[in-house]
């Protein structure tokens, strides 16, 4: 039993840290830290910067242009990026579709799509959920009918994150209604510029436009855009979800948030004392910190148990539940820390280039927005209730 990084891992950590210091613009990191909006160009810039270093596809094997990192190295990289307030890697192409193509795609698909993910030619979004298929994803209805060398797709997807920026969408579609619902699902790659696709924004409660509805009316998709076999899409879908969930645990995000919370609570005054010296607040903060310290070890246990290059199986559900609970608790503590300055709402202050006056401390502006926005993390990627179903079945054998 040894919880320390090896010399090699420590050297890797130092390398990542040094590289971030050199290559992550301070202005961009500051915007990430203060919860401001990033433009499409900001995200593309960061992808290109990582890709130039060969660090964009950290889940991929080297033969496809990935890093070939061990799970521990990936974990170090993610933590360092969070602690440096780097923009997050937009996961849909790199972290979700990439691994599915590598495992289940044919040679032509790998050769065509993987390089385009790396160089930013394509911006992918995820077509999983539908209005009637959320937790019960397998009941999805968006239909694809084979007609010669095309599928014709009709139906609707929803909660499509950053779909407004995407030129490609990977979709779960129904190709058969025989047998169990899971047995009639296929995995299709669809060009967003095909006639018949309509993207409409969904505005979230905190006032942002992050997700969309996507409507498909007689959309023609070439059959070579089918991944794997027809009606076997559920297997690929679940494989992708383990990647999605592991990322949502966000231990690195929580570490950064905890550090920032301590700084704020140490500076914020309440009745002549620092907030960190208020016994009730300090106790709640200490509980969150203890949970997070335990979670760091739990995460590393799962990470080091995962085979090199792979991701955890049902254990990703454990990480997702606990990780999101901790992140949300830190959001609550941060929102509470700024007191009544959680209330002012100045959406223009989140936009790039904003130079106007702040109301209250600068770090206060985004607290409520982040809190409300992060209510999503216990819902998406399979709600935490669904994760408990998975744990019951796959780990507890119930």
């Amino acid at each position: 039993m040894d919880l320390n990084y090896t010399d090699q891992e420590l050297a890797f950590q130092a390398e990542v840290r040094g590289w971030l210091k050199e290559n992550l613009p301070a202005e961009l990191a500051h915007r990430v830290k203060s919860g401001k909006h990033l433009s499409k160009a900001d995200m593309e810039f960061w992808h290109a910067t990582l890709n130039a270093r060969g660090w964009l596809a950290n889940h991929w094997p080297t033969e496809h242009g990935g890093t070939g990192w061990s799970p521990v190295e990936r974990n170090i990289f993610e933590e360092e990026c969070c602690l440096a307030y780097a923009p997050r890697i937009v996961p849909f192409g790199v972290s979700m579709l990439g691994p599915v193509l590598i495992k289940y795609g044919n040679e032509a698909q790998k050769n065509h799509w993987l390089p385009r993910i790396l160089d930013g030619s394509d911006w992918w979004c995820q077509g999983y959920s539908e209005p009637g298929a959320g937790s019960d994803l397998a009941s999805l209805k968006c239909k694809a009918v084979r007609e010669g060398d095309h599928y014709v797709v009709n139906g609707q997807k929803t909660w499509t994150t950053l779909g407004q920026f995407a030129n490609m969408i990977f979709c779960l579609v129904r190709t058969s209604s025989e047998g169990k619902p899971q047995e009639g699902i296929s995995f299709l790659l669809i060009d967003m510029n095909t006639p018949g696709i309509d993207v409409r924004p969904i505005h979230l409660l905190e006032g942002t436009h992050e997700v969309n509805e996507v409507f498909f009316t007689d959309v023609k998709v070439p059959v070579e855009n089918l991944v794997g076999e027809e009606n076997k899409g559920w297997t690929y879908a679940k494989y992708l979800l383990t990647y999605e969930r592991t990322g949502i645990a966000g231990v690195g995000f929580s570490m950064a948030a905890m550090g920032e919370l301590k700084r704020v609570a140490g500076a914020q005054k309440r009745r002549g004392k620092h907030l960190a010296d208020d016994p009730l607040y300090a106790a709640r903060m200490a509980r969150a910190e203890i949970e997070l310290e335990n979670m760091k070890v739990t995460n590393l246990r799962v990470v080091s148990a995962a085979a090199a290059g792979g991701v955890p199986g049902p254990e990703s559900s454990m990480l997702k539940i606990k990780g999101t609970e901790i992140r949300q608790e830190l959001n609550v503590l941060s929102r509470k820390a700024v007191g009544r300055y959680a209330m002012p709402f100045l959406p223009e202050a989140f936009e790039p280039g904003f130079n106007g006056p702040h109301v209250g401390p600068e770090h206060a502006a985004a607290q409520s927005k982040s809190y409300f926005n992060n209510r999503k993390i216990t819902i998406f990627g399979g709600s935490n209730e669904i994760q408990k179903n998975i744990i019951s079945k796959m780990i507890l054998g119930l």
Binding site: M1, D2, L3, N4, Y5, T6, E9, V72, A282, A283, A286, R287, E289, I290, E291, E293, N294, M295, K296, V297, T298, L300, R301, S304, A305, M318, I321, K322, E385, Q387, K388, N389, I391, S392, I395, L396, G397, L398
Partner: protein, 379 residues
């Protein structure tokens, strides 16, 4: 990074688990638990024979272990069998002798490791609020040795031990970090009044009133007035041990509860098919895994003195107490009526798990300590 135990430790853990399963029936344990001694001497001898007590101490003290992960492996195994033989007192009092004792005092560890002598840790008091600084027992130098006066509360195996390690104030007032001293006191010394009893989960404990005179000057352990750091060193080891014991118990309860809900039928199906119970089991599993991480984290830093060690230990006890309460209460509820009975094993595991929250500091104390340590206070 490596989350596997060394081969030796793995073997030690397997040995204990096997012994607990084959040679430590719960029925005999329950009988021994309410006996006058509070444990079975032949079981203690068997544990000594297996090397289990030796695993708690370093080579200099005649043992062959003593590292954080040795304690974790041993006590996790003991927890699985609800072992009541006095290994925790041996660890707490023994660690003080090992860490701060002179050669003569350290020599006492040899018969302890062999199972021939037993120790008790006579430190906690009725009004201390679990804070090791809040000691009201006093010790002063008299004409022919130390004079110790005070009352020690719920001393595990205090009625059966051969020696006590006693904490007392040689200066200052209750609550102060300085002025605590430790003493080795044979239980046959004059001026010790012991009221022994059984605890609710089985095992012996005692109230000990001290009105000692003439304790030899050489029975002081470590520096006069320097007891707090020695105590915290030992308490940290005790908290890793008791945390690992709790973890062993939790693993047993989890398996027991899963088995139960897969077999117990209501409304024509095993009750484990009900989502209301599945989600509670999933939550229990998550919390137990967080608990396992807390044990690993504290065990890993146990030999490195400093704030990081003390914070990890306090965090472990907060996690232990929180999780122990959850697992004990949830498992009884999920078992329903049968979980309430003396006859079913569950209740005995749940009782020990709950009583662990009353030993070596409650959740509020350790959370407060965790916060104070973060501010650089000497607690």
């Amino acid at each position: 990074m490596d989350f596997n135990h060394s081969e030796e430790r793995q073997m030690l853990g397997d040995t204990i688990t096997r012994w607990v399963m084959n040679d430590y029936p719960l029925k005999a344990r329950l009988e021994a638990g309410v006996s006058e001694l509070g444990y079975a001497p032949d079981r203690l001898a068997a544990l000594a024979e297996l090397g289990v007590i030796g695993a708690l101490f370093g080579e200099d003290a005649g043992g062959f272990g003593g590292a954080g992960f040795d304690l974790a492996v041993v006590f996790e195994g003991l927890g699985k069998g609800l072992v009541i033989e006095p290994l925790l007192p041996a660890l707490l009092a023994g660690s003080i002798l090992e860490n701060a004792g002179n050669d003569a005092q350290k020599a006492l560890l040899e018969p302890v490791i062999e199972g021939a002598k037993t120790l008790a840790f006579a430190h906690f008091e009725a009004d201390d609020g679990d804070d090791p600084r809040w000691i009201e027992t006093t010790a002063k130098k008299g004409a022919d040795g130390w004079e110790i006066s005070g009352h020690k509360a719920v001393v595990r195996n205090g009625g059966s031990a051969d020696y006590l390690v006693v904490s007392a104030r040689t200066s200052g007032d209750a609550g102060q970090a300085d002025g605590l001293s430790l003493f080795l006191v044979p239980t046959d010394a004059k001026g010790i009044e012991t009221h022994a009893y059984s605890t609710i989960e089985g095992g012996g404990a005692a109230e000990i009133s001290l009105d000692l005179k003439g304790l030899p000057m050489g029975n002081l352990i470590g520096g006069e007035g320097q007891g707090l750091d020695i105590l915290n060193h030992a308490l940290g080891r005790g908290i890793v041990a008791i945390g690992a014991e709790a973890l062993g118990i939790m693993d047993v309860i989890r398996a027991m509860t899963i088995e139960y809900i897969q077999t117990r039928k209501q409304f024509g199906v095993p009750i484990g098919k009900f989502q209301a119970l599945q989600h509670r089991m999933a939550e229990m599993l998550l919390e137990i895994e967080q608990m396992r991480s807390a044990v690993i984290r504290a065990a890993a830093v146990l030999e490195e003195p400093g704030v990081e060690r003390e914070r990890a230990v306090a965090a472990l006890k907060v996690t232990t107490n929180k999780t122990a309460t959850l697992v004990a209460e949830e498992s009884i509820q999920i078992h329903g009526g049968i979980g309430m009975t003396w006859e079913h094993d569950l209740g005995h595991f749940a009782k020990r798990l709950t009583m662990i929250t009353h030993e070596l500091g409650d959740e509020d104390y350790h959370l407060t300590r965790y916060i104070a340590l973060g501010k650089g206070e000497h607690v």
